[in-house]
């Protein structure tokens, strides 16, 4: 029983991390209908910002997290205003080619400036060690920290989307851009803000993930498939969809690797196939979107 609890908590931590990394993608893909394969590059940017700040300038890790968010969001905003917006109307193939090009540029750039090796940071002492829950069941303090942060963020995102004026503007802009424009909503600004926040969240996820997922220049490609699976399984019409999808995939992945190690790495794909066979539009699709 205790073992089950440990595996469950590890899975939740992994799933939460996936959610933070991928939820920006589900927004751009689902709400803005833009295939942004370069999403992982923003996560990588956040990770490298953290590495440079922690190792090079001795900035405390906790302070680095909001900085990673802001830097990734700023890069996202800049690229959205200069490059991405030109492709909103383009077909998906063009968007894929453009964003995959960005990924390769980001990877080569990071390789050139930071080197290709695995980056390491040292966590502060209070985030290290084990937290004992019950006899035999324990979870790493850092994983618990990830769960708490990501859970709070998920709630905040859901509230913003459903309760605030910005949220309703965004939903309006997505549902029908022209009518929204007619009502005086500045659709371009709404999209730019959304894109920046999504990139920022990826950056935060990248920073949080250094210790769990590793960080090297191949990061955007290595995890692209995971992000896409989250979005595909979760559907793209809400925050709750990708959130639950991340949790299911995270727990399934960890449990699969724990209980059937030989098969474990295929677990996430198997789950994707099964879910898509049962629900072709994702777990929470409300209508026939993409």
């Amino acid at each position: 029983m205790c073992r089950v609890l440990t595996v469950l908590l590890d899975g939740i931590a992994y799933g939460m991390l996936l959610f933070i990394l991928a939820c920006g993608l589900s927004v751009t893909l689902g709400l803005m209908n833009f295939v942004n394969l370069a999403h992982g590059a923003f996560a990588m940017a956040g990770g490298y910002v953290t590495v440079v700040l922690v190792n090079g300038y001795g900035v405390p890790f906790l302070l680095c997290l909001p900085i990673a968010f802001l830097v990734a969001a700023a890069i996202g905003l800049l690229l959205e205003r200069t490059l991405y917006r030109r492709l909103y109307g383009a077909n998906h193939l063009d968007q894929v080619l453009f964003s995959i090009g960005l990924v390769f540029m980001a990877m080569a750039g990071v390789d050139y400036f930071m080197g290709a090796r695995q980056q390491l940071i040292t966590l502060p002492d209070f985030l290290r060690g084990q937290f004992h829950l019950a006899e035999g069941a324990s979870i790493g303090v850092y994983r618990l920290f990830i769960i708490v942060i990501c859970a709070v963020l998920a709630v905040v995102l859901q509230l913003i989307l459903s309760r605030t004026r910005f949220g309703s503007r965004l939903r309006a802009a997505v549902d029908d851009g022209e009518v929204a424009r007619g009502l005086g909503i500045n659709v371009g600004t709404v999209f730019a803000m959304t894109f920046a926040v999504g990139s920022g969240l990826a950056g935060l996820g990248g920073a949080l993930g250094i210790e769990v997922l590793g960080l090297d220049p191949s990061f955007p490609i290595r995890f692209m498939i995971y992000f896409l699976i989250v979005v595909v399984v979760g559907g793209t019409s809400s925050i709750a969809g990708p959130f639950l999808a991340s949790l299911i995939l995270g727990i399934g992945d960890v449990a699969g690797k724990y209980y059937i190690p030989g098969f474990g790495s295929f677990m996430i794909y198997t789950m994707m196939v099964v879910i898509l066979v049962l629900r072709p539009h994702g777990l929470f699709a409300t209508r026939g979107t993409s």
Binding site: D10, D111, A116, R117, Q118, L120, Q130, G214, G264, S265
Partner: protein, 394 residues
Amino acid sequence: MLKGMFTIAAAATLLGAAVTAQVQAQESVQVGLVLPMTGPFASTGRQVEAGARLYMQQHGDEVGGRKIELIVKDDGGVADQTKRIAQELVVREGADVLAGFGLTPLAMATAPIATQARVPMIVMAAATSSITEKSPFIVRSSFTLPQAALGIARWAAENGITEAATLVSDYAPGHDAADAFRKVFEEAGGTVIEQAAVPLKDPDFAPYLQRIRDAGPQGLFVFVPSGVGSLLMKQFDERGLDDAGIKLIATGDVTDDDILDQMGDVALGAITAQHYSAAHDSPENKEFVDAFKEANGNSRPNFMAVGGYDGMHLVYEALKATDGETGEALVEAMKGLSWESPRGPVSIDPETRDIVQDIYIREVKEQDGELYNVEFDRIEQVKDPVKADWSQQF
């Protein structure tokens, strides 16, 4: 008739070109160093090149009456590239020696070129046992993974570990290491109770480590590529496997000198077996480490650098013996060579052309404020256990 004339003329030109190439080759010995200088294995390339260059800097660039020229090429860690570059080096640049080879597939892909061109090929990094069997022109100056695995397995069996688990990356060298460990460990009376193979691309070890923790062995044998190794150690520590009485044992790749100091305290106490540590206590090594640091902005040499250094030593000594002659004679001259390397006494096994060396058992400790692999035991003159008869090693 006219056509015949042309043929003769063309043949003469070709012959002339060949002769000119020969004369040029007489002047200098070209050593083509093919390494991953970019990409995820760039650290290997950088270390091997620095080691080779250091040797040339210390020993001059003339030997056996001929000048040595080093041509460094980047293959980015892609086997097709390595093969193509090696071919170009041999055909176009007239390279007399091929050297480098950061990873097993890169060396394997190039082996046929060495055989066809009858050019000595010095493997300075790749560590899969069977590489030297792929061409009679291959000589190895690095190590074989089973050598290191054998060392740690014997140490474990002799030091109170009766039940062990293994965790390796899911690729050929990983399986090589796990098999070698298991074989030696079980022959010495231990049992392997849990074996995990982790996908190379997925560095979250949490579920695997948890499973091993729950299985409760006394030791966990690990082989993963060096960068990922530090992540593994952190997660080993975070999950409290240490407190559960599980000892982390590994081949030296995991506590690679190149990044060991950045790993931090989690690495302390890890027991590894390998052929080289920058902290090896000998005058030869002191000189080597000091010179290396001076030439490379104070960064430390690792086992890759010593592979490059000793690889150049092989070329130099063999050229001395053949008086400047290359080709098959050079390989012959390398067989049986023995010398005092920065890593300790080594020799080339004349039968397998593989390196014979001491394997050291080391513990990660702090020395002068930095983390080092400090040697505390050794197994003398270990041959590659896969090619030699395993039982002879006991």
